[in-house]
């Protein structure tokens, strides 16, 4: 993997930037520093980054092709809404909301486990079709559960997704996925993409690697869904359709496969672009897919494909500096 900037900055710089960012998010919430629209876009950006980096784990690092990410989002959104509206509505949002988000993630992760099992025997196009089918099952499944509002949707969700919570979850997602990718488990996932037979022959249990990728990916997809539900305050099954999945795919392939920096870049570009193109109305959905087509032709791995911003790379991954003589 190639890297941008040869050496990471001193450890303190990244932490200081992080603290400043979180403090800014807190200040914005506390003192209402930006108007509602900007706040909405920033929260959407955070959710999109979570969606993008988590799908990238399966589609980028592992090199599979899943189109079912919106399905995991839906599972997370609905389960978290059940927690915050129906089951624990009496709770203080300070502990209840994180619980709802984690619950949504666990629900999605459990279903991701099952989808991971299917990936043992099917790969490539066939797995894409299975994830497509999964997406349809989730959507029509929810439509047939009156408890969560069926096709009418789930109403009356409180607005718990603050900018600060979004920032915290975004950082947490990026950090854990970065740690995963630069561990023996992450290398196993990448080895599956590179050469599954060689990976097996080198002692990588490729089944475990696939399950790990699917479970972690879908867990964070569920987390994003939970944040999404408590941002919009109203969800219905048709939101989580193939178009939603396609949007996440555009972010992944725009920013770059197998890259944290690429995921952030792709999600950011997509979020602002789709806001900027808002005046075009339905034409927006012509321009964005067109972007994907052009991308696949000219830069199939995305802007940062397989490259990483060196700030995100653990220090141990760098060659030891030459000793001065």
């Amino acid at each position: 993997m190639t890297r941008w900037l040869q050496y990471p900055p001193p450890r303190g710089v990244l932490l200081a930037l992080l603290a400043a960012g979180l403090a800014a998010c807190f200040a914005i919430e506390q003192f209402g520093l930006v108007d509602d629209y900007v706040r909405f876009v920033l929260i959407t950006l955070g959710i999109n980054i979570i969606l993008c980096v988590s799908l990238n784990l399966v589609n980028g690092w592992m090199g599979e092709f899943s189109v079912g990410h919106a399905g995991f989002m839906a599972l997370g959104a609905y389960l978290s809404a059940c927690v915050s509206v129906k089951w624990l509505s009496w709770g203080n949002p300070l502990w209840m909301f994180p619980l709802a988000v984690i619950g949504g993630g666990l629900m999605a992760g459990a279903v991701g486990f099952l989808l991971g099992l299917l990936s043992f025997k099917t790969r490539g196009d066939y797995l894409a079709i299975i994830t497509l089918a999964f997406l349809m099952i989730v959507k029509s499944g929810i439509e047939n559960i009156p408890y969560v509002g069926g096709p009418r949707g789930f109403l009356g969700i409180d607005n718990h997704t603050t900018l600060l919570w979004t920032a915290i979850w975004t950082v947490l997602t990026l950090w854990t996925i970065r740690n995963l990718v630069y561990s023996r488990f992450g290398r196993g996932i990448v080895a599956v993409r590179e050469d599954e037979i060689a990976a097996n022959a080198m002692g990588v249990d490729t089944r475990k690697a696939k399950l790990t990728a699917f479970v972690v990916s879908s867990f964070f997809g569920g987390v994003a869904g939970a944040l999404f539900a408590h941002q919009l305050q109203f969800i219905n099954p048709s939101v989580f359709d193939l178009v939603k999945s396609t949007e996440i795919l555009v972010m992944v392939y725009l920013g770059g496969v197998g890259s944290l920096a690429g995921s952030i870049l792709g999600a950011t570009a997509f979020t602002f672009l789709s806001q900027a193109l808002q005046p075009l109305g339905t034409w927006r959905m012509v321009i964005l897919p067109l972007l994907l087509v052009l991308l696949m032709i000219f830069r199939p791995r995305g802007i940062m494909g397989m490259r990483e911003f060196s700030w995100f790379v653990p220090r141990r991954e760098f060659p030891a500096k030459e000793e001065k003589k």
């Binding site: 995963l180 050469d195 990976a199 097996n200």
Partner: protein, 258 residues
């Protein structure tokens, strides 16, 4: 001495094709054991059976006296059988170091949650793996290339890296599938030297498939000759060379037609 690897009456059928038929041989610890035979004799199939890629139609493979039947390839690798491939199968887009590290990870013992929150134990294990792998690459003369993309290496270096990667598993038995493929005779001579170093330095038992007669005859302690999926001869280089069946398989029957 108890054999390290025993192949017992292994038969492999692909539909109507009999790729390997009643194959039996034993590999003694410390030996370099060669498998030779014309194209299509079932040599690579035998390798794929030993490493668990194929499940044999009949027969059994024993490693250190235990059956490998039903074991996943990754498990067999972790038990101590490493291999290279006839057409190099590196993780081309990854660095040289990462190639070796993926194999070396088989010996790292830290759990997924610990890795995801960067517990000190996981970080320490990672650091140890890196140190171990850089040492290994240094031994194989690839130390300077550690941070290069594996696919960018020269052909010879790629072959060497593939063997280094296999050795990162710390195997008891190393399977080499045509290590001299694509090499001229000068390069092959160097390879023999290299294989000798490998055997002495790591005290690893070797099982190798090779077309290059000279390499097999000079390097291997014991040779099994296959033809049409059957063992037609076994013994030392001298025994095999004078075996009429071997001569027939390689040169055809003496009077040309029967």
């Amino acid at each position: 001495m108890k054999p390290l690897l025993e192949v017992r009456d292994v038969t492999m059928r692909f539909g109507g094709l009999l790729a390997v038929s009643d194959l039996s041989f034993e590999v003694t610890p410390g030996h370099a054991h060669g498998i030779i035979g014309p194209n299509g004799a079932g040599k690579t199939t035998a390798f794929n059976i030993i490493t668990g890629i194929y499940a044999p139609t009949a027969g059994d493979v024993l490693f250190r006296g235990e059956s490998l039947a039903g074991q996943r390839p990754s498990n067999i690798a972790r038990r101590g059988i490493a291999r290279t491939f006839q057409n190099i199968r590196l993780f081309r887009d990854l660095t040289v170091l990462d190639n070796v590290r993926i194999a070396s990870d088989a010996h790292a013992r830290y759990a997924l949650p610990g890795a995801m929150v960067q517990l000190p134990a996981a970080r320490r294990a990672e650091q140890e793996t890196i140190t171990r792998c850089l040492d290994l690459l240094e031994k194989f003369g690839l130390g300077d290339a550690a941070y290069e993309r594996a696919g960018d290496l020269s052909y010879g270096s790629q072959r060497r890296l593939e063997i280094a990667r296999a050795m990162a598993l710390q195997p008891a038995l190393l399977l080499l599938d045509e290590p001299a493929a694509g090499m001229n005779s000068a390069e092959t001579l160097k390879l023999v030297e290299f294989l000798g170093w490998l055997r002495d330095h790591f005290s690893v038992t070797m099982l190798l498939i090779e077309h290059h007669m000279q390499l097999v005859m000079t390097f291997c302690d014991r040779i099994t000759v296959l033809d049409f999926g059957k063992t037609i001869a076994e013994g030392t280089a001298a025994e095999v060379r004078s075996n009429p069946k071997v001569i027939e398989a390689y040169l055809g029957p003496e009077d040309g037609h029967e």
